[in-house]
Symmetry: C2
Amino acid sequence: MISLEAGFTDDATLPVADTREIVEEVLGGRDARRALQYGSTQGEPHLRELTVDRLRRLDGRAGAPRCQATTDRTVITNGSQQLLYMLAEALFNPGDIVLLEDPTYFVFLGIVQSMGLRARTVRMKADGMDLAHLEAVLSSLKREGELARTKALYMVSYFQNPTGITTAIDRKRGALELLQRYSQKRRPIYLVEDAAYRELRFAGSDVPSTLSLDGAEDRVIVTGTYSKPFATGTRVGFGILPEPLLTTVLRIKGNHDFGTSSLLQRIVARALESGRYERHLERLRARYAAKAATMASAMRDSFPKRVQWDEPQGGLYFWARSPRRVSTGMNSTLFRTALGHEVLYVPGQICYADDPTRRKPNHEMRISFGNATSEQISLGVRRLGSVLEEIVGSGDRRVRESRNRRSHQPGGHESLRPPRM
Amino acid sequence: MISLEAGFTDDATLPVADTREIVEEVLGGRDARRALQYGSTQGEPHLRELTVDRLRRLDGRAGAPRCQATTDRTVITNGSQQLLYMLAEALFNPGDIVLLEDPTYFVFLGIVQSMGLRARTVRMKADGMDLAHLEAVLSSLKREGELARTKALYMVSYFQNPTGITTAIDRKRGALELLQRYSQKRRPIYLVEDAAYRELRFAGSDVPSTLSLDGAEDRVIVTGTYSKPFATGTRVGFGILPEPLLTTVLRIKGNHDFGTSSLLQRIVARALESGRYERHLERLRARYAAKAATMASAMRDSFPKRVQWDEPQGGLYFWARSPRRVSTGMNSTLFRTALGHEVLYVPGQICYADDPTRRKPNHEMRISFGNATSEQISLGVRRLGSVLEEIVGSGDRRVRESRNRRSHQPGGHESLRPPRM
């Protein structure tokens, strides 16, 4: 089985030698015991400083000198996932409305569902959110008297999971202005920018974060992670939050775990300050660039012309669109046939929220080059290509027929687990 | 300032050399990359096996051969705190009722409060819960038609935080039987046993966990931790859960963080299987035994006779009771005077839930020997003793007077943060 499914990073790139050296430095130093003791709920001050320095430097290099990150508004979390969860706990009551990119990160959809939130989705363009559609959605929420229950817009702004889209700064600005315009007195609609993939860029130029925008200081939350760019096994993420949200989130984190592991935080801090993090990123980017090129080349060679896709400039994913009539979901002929040919992708459908205002698309695939080797990528894409050729090429009739032919479907799918990240 | 307040473990005991060796073994081994990659949401199978082996061995040695822990019912979490939080999320809706020891672990009270739960408290005896009172509480809930909303009893069974009480096996059995008897069809009242301090015993004999009891398999949850017995900075805990709770908790953990750091899990696993964990525990127990003896001796020498306390057989805390008329709370003369003399304790009041059926006691103190050195313990207890001598010795009149004399109270208390663990 070749998995082009999991959002895992590349095993071969995991920084084993770096981490050994770093742990030696952390536990060999004078301050070693602090790494094995409880820390503060908010996180190690030194790691928060390094985080703010880094964000400012990134935004500066991307052309935005005014990044509004500060150490006292920064919190360190167990991956950025924990922060997304706590933000949802802090922001929403059951039945509240969250604005989502359409499609969006499916693990966030798990949170949305588990908390009983209502989703309103906003269409995407090649460079981010369709602002005219965002305004239409906000305006319709206003008419329905639902603005007071609309608490936040969630945006995965760099190499979005799943589409690979990066949001242009003008779209970020436009979205923030719309949220400000439609926010009611003392009822801000926050902009949550999930920047998890920002550092995994291997082509094109970086875009400033929303922290660089006017009015960001009381309206914008930025979440990020050190797990994906360095070592997923370390699970260290961070966020920059405005008050009073920060206080609420810290109270929640006090109840979750009263602080992320000091050892992990010090490992990440040492990686950053020693320059190993940056050097590791360089290697990682080169490797992902190569694997993305391998995938693009295999897709060009073996995918039918009617399946559309774009080459991403970073991140871990390609997003491929079949003709609308060809379903890609877990129960589809395509998915099951692919499974029979031992190749696995993430069905696009699971990246779409339940939103009564539109039909849920079911003709797309997230295909990851993160964890697979180049050989697996070539082979897996060829297998998927031949399945697509067979099914997309064969037209409507075949797809409809297969619904009544269970024996046509390969077995083994009972053991399928939910997709990862 | 001498802090006899925080539930931190002893800095000097933190296993720096052990952890360096362990990380070398983990990252020097063939399987090193697995330690830096994502793992499963439920936790490393190997650590779950080691955990189950250990629980069975502990229960066996304590005289109970039938410990019902199994690997597939075990989950690894970010300290046991995360499991307590997720259990609360899984079990309760706002307004539901939780049965609590009176007093209980104050961080759990934070969870209870944040989720809008109603607490019903059960009195404690020297060897655990007062079963007659538990039955009276259950019977009154039945009369009130509230049993369907009563979801769990939370019990800190070894060297309870804050009182140091260890629950006898007969009381565990009695409590479980009562919960079974009062559970309605398909509405189990779970027994959550928090065994965080079990391994920190330095006198007397171990007691089997509730997993050894008849009927435990579908009604009992046991939570434990490797943080306090080894290194608090690693933040690795665990739990044994029955279905369908396990599935719900894993879904929640998928949303929290999709799994605890692989690196930390492998460090703890290696500590366990290499024997270092056990050897470390021996050293830790000897050290805490000595520090508890130092504290007991200082309290005997300097506390007034009217302040009562018992010597604990493990854990990190003494629990001292002033006469009822002498308040120990954050705003009390006692607390502020102690602060003026640069010694800090945890006011007993914060360990009591809001429960309309009884008045909240406010005359007790949790005094920790975990983090302080022997010298600090001796000095801190002497300082506290002289403050107690002054205030407890001086009778009612003085305490009442002081309420109107603000100038008598030392400053600096505005900077007080919430107590830790």
